[in-house]
């Protein structure tokens, strides 16, 4: 009995401490606003969650850029749930922040909360992902990547890779797709196919294509099966670096040389991808940049000052060939 009471006391104590800590945090935020006066821009940002290294780099970039710009950032993590994100946006409206930015968990279902923001005259900026709304005036702009263009760039850079490798004869491509139904997977495949259909109708062919779920384990397993059923594959196009890294292990287990016997092009540009590229195992990487914090802050400033911005502000992204890998590696933050 005593034990149980002790336990309860302890539990209540811990809970109370947690609440106090939360209050303390909140207080610090609001004093920041008032002391900053009307000059400091308060930005409410709702992140999707922390599902990948890419995402945490994205979060860090937003936080760092806000600090550098001297904005008062109110950050919340939606843990992949739309209802969390909606309630975060509502609380930003209640707190009368200057600008709301968020990376939507899903595509639809935002009309109601965005109308509330519009009624409160708070501009909304989307980051990374887009939404479908009935009324286009509900958000100002989207700061994010163009996945279709990433696919196109992957196609273009493959031309360079083939040329550099002095490849002759038919190009037999294996494609590792991202999670089925996810926008990056659909659009990257679409962009790549556009280049193929336009310029390489006869000499390029995707001989096998399967989903590797954007994971290393998926890429490894699918590639192992591909190499058995189509031993003559000579190019791999992976929708992200992690799948390419998994596939490299399978290619090596099959006794082939990744980057030589099978040329590899992938998208993202995470650190491990660059490590593999500097070892000569990936031939080219098309960057999908999560470090959009600085661009976001610029947009927030323009929007806050009443300036007009483009409907879709595309992230600054680069393409990297093998010879640039070593130089770029130390600068990779994620």
């Amino acid at each position: 009995m005593l034990n149980r009471r002790n336990f309860l006391t302890a539990a209540v104590g811990v809970a109370a401490a947690g609440t106090l800590a939360a209050c303390a945090k909140e207080d610090k935020g609001s004093t920041g606003t008032s002391s900053g006066g009307s000059k400091t821009i308060t930005l409410g940002f709702s992140q999707v969650g922390s599902e990948s290294g890419w995402r945490s780099a994205n979060t860090d970039s937003v936080k760092a850029a806000a600090k550098e710009a001297g904005y008062n950032l109110k950050f919340s993590d939606a843990q992949q749930k739309q209802e969390n994100q909606i309630s975060a946006i509502r609380s930003y409206i209640a707190q009368k922040v200057d600008v709301i930015a968020f990376s939507p968990v899903v595509v639809t279902g935002w009309d109601a909360v965005l109308k509330e923001a519009k009624a409160a005259k708070i501009p909304v900026v989307l980051t990374d992902r887009s939404v479908e709304t009935s009324d286009d005036s509900l958000y100002v702009t989207l700061v994010g990547s163009d996945f279709t263009d990433e696919g196109r760039r992957a196609g273009k850079i493959l031309e360079k890779v083939l040329e550099k490798a002095g490849h002759k004869g038919p190009v037999k491509i294996a494609q590792l797709e991202g999670t089925t139904g996810a926008a990056p997977a659909i659009e990257r495949a679409k962009g790549f196919k556009e280049v193929m259909d336009a310029d390489h109708k006869d000499d390029w062919k995707i001989v096998v294509s399967q989903t590797g779920d954007f994971t290393r384990a998926g890429g490894k397993q699918v590639m192992a099966a591909f190499l058995q059923s189509n031993p003559d594959i000579n190019v791999l196009f992976a929708h992200n670096d992690d799948m390419a890294i998994g596939a490299i292990q399978s290619i090596e287990a099959a006794g082939k040389k990744p980057g030589k016997d099978i040329l590899i092009v992938s998208i993202d540009g995470v650190k491990d991808g660059f490590v593999a590229m500097s070892e000569g195992k990936i031939n080219a990487i098309v960057e999908c940049n999560p470090l959009l914090g600085p661009q976001l802050m610029e947009v927030v400033k323009t929007v806050h000052d009443g300036g007009s911005v483009e409907r879709w502000i595309k992230t600054k992204e680069g393409d990297f060939m093998q010879d640039q890998a070593k130089a770029a590696l130390p600068t990779r933050k994620y």
Partner: protein
């Protein structure tokens, strides 16, 4: 006459249908992968489709074997996927902190650490189910949901890449030209079969699954048996977690072992173990897991469009489950058999196991 009775005995064997499906799936691959059965030496180890099926299927076999015993007690363990993630995350983050990642002692300590974490998860599940009397599906749901968060906490939301040769051996390395994981799986299966079929342990597990209260009244410590099977299941999942993270030399708290619990339950069911508990077949489970892995490989090689992967998988699983159902078989094949030999009392031997279950 003797051949037909032998044939009947064969088809009545509880492993007949799972094995038949496995053989059929393997044969489907042959036209798509011309040298499907070919195995050759590459870089000093054997290489071929069959080798990769066993290599990639090893974690699933392990998880499914653990799951079999839990299901035999009438329970279910949904937390195995999360345990896979936690074990991999803990082990890899420990190794990545080492100055020398290749040091054998550090790797062994890291693996021990990961497996201890797995056992703790198993103890927690067993405690909730056996001591607190919580429904297994609810009790294990806790770690299924929370465990992945714990794994992400350990990895800090990142994918931890390690570069350790001794650790790579367990899930991606080769020994005596064969994947090392085959030896691990063989050892675990052999120990499990020996413990459950050479001692009374298997009988006790089945007794608890048949009727926990009755078995307690005859003097079986049913709670202790239950805790034991959950710990064993978590330990198997832990070893599978080591294999999965070792296979790609990386710990991915978000995706490692994702949905493996469902594949494992499916493997157990395909293997002929009743979800109601009370009887189990380790051999059947191993075949069931191989069926699922072969099916996955088949989907990759025969060029099923990505969007229809799951439909294809579902269709095969439905066929397998129907073939496993005595009632379905009696309706489809039985009609023909009865027409040929009307005197055969076909239904009787199948009615007996059904009574045993209730």
């Amino acid at each position: 006459m003797t051949t037909s009775s032998r044939w009947r005995a064969l088809t009545r064997h509880h492993l007949f249908w799972p094995v038949a499906v496995l053989v059929a799936l393997v044969l489907v691959n042959v036209p798509f992968t011309p040298d499907f059965f070919a195995i050759h030496m590459t870089n000093g180890h054997l290489y071929g489709s069959l080798v990769s099926i066993v290599l990639f299927g090893s974690p699933l076999i392990l998880v499914a074997v653990g799951m079999t015993l839990v299901i035999a007690t009438g329970g279910i363990d949904l937390s195995v996927g999360a345990v896979v993630a936690i074990t991999g995350a803990l082990t890899c983050s420990y190794i990545s902190d080492q100055a020398d990642q290749g040091a054998l002692s550090g790797v062994l300590l890291a693996m021990g650490l990961g497996l201890v974490a797995a056992v703790v998860c198993g103890l927690w599940n067993g405690f909730l189910v056996a001591r607190m009397g919580i429904q297994p599906i609810i009790a294990t749901l806790i770690i299924m949901v929370a465990g992945r968060g714990v794994a992400q906490l350990i990895t800090d939301g990142q994918i931890i890449t390690i570069n350790s040769d001794p650790y790579q051996l367990i899930g991606g390395g080769y020994w005596l030209t064969l994947p090392f994981s085959i030896f691990v799986v063989a050892a675990v299966v052999a120990v499990t079969v020996a413990l459950t079929r050479r001692t009374a342990l298997g009988l006790l597990v089945e007794a608890v699954g048949g009727n926990a209260e009755a078995s307690r009244l005859v003097g079986i410590r049913s709670r202790r048996i239950k805790i034991m099977v959950y710990v064993f299941c978590a330990l198997c999942a832990g070893i599978a977690g080591l294999m999965i993270s070792s296979n790609t030399s990386a710990a991915d708290g978000n995706n490692a072992g994702l949905w493996i619990e469902l594949d494992a339950i499916l493997a157990v069911v395909i293997g002929g173990t009743s979800l109601l508990g009370g009887r189990f077949s380790i051999g059947g489970t191993v075949i069931g897991a191989l069926v699922i892995q072969t099916l996955t490989t088949t989907i990759y090689t025969i060029g099923v469009p990505t969007q229809t992967n799951l439909v294809f998988k579902a269709a095969v699983v439905i066929v397998v489950c129907l073939l496993q159902s005595p009632k379905f078989r009696a309706k489809v094949f039985g009609a023909r058999a009865r027409a040929a030999a009307p005197a055969q009392p076909a239904a009787e031997p199948e009615a007996a196991p059904k009574m045993e279950v209730s």
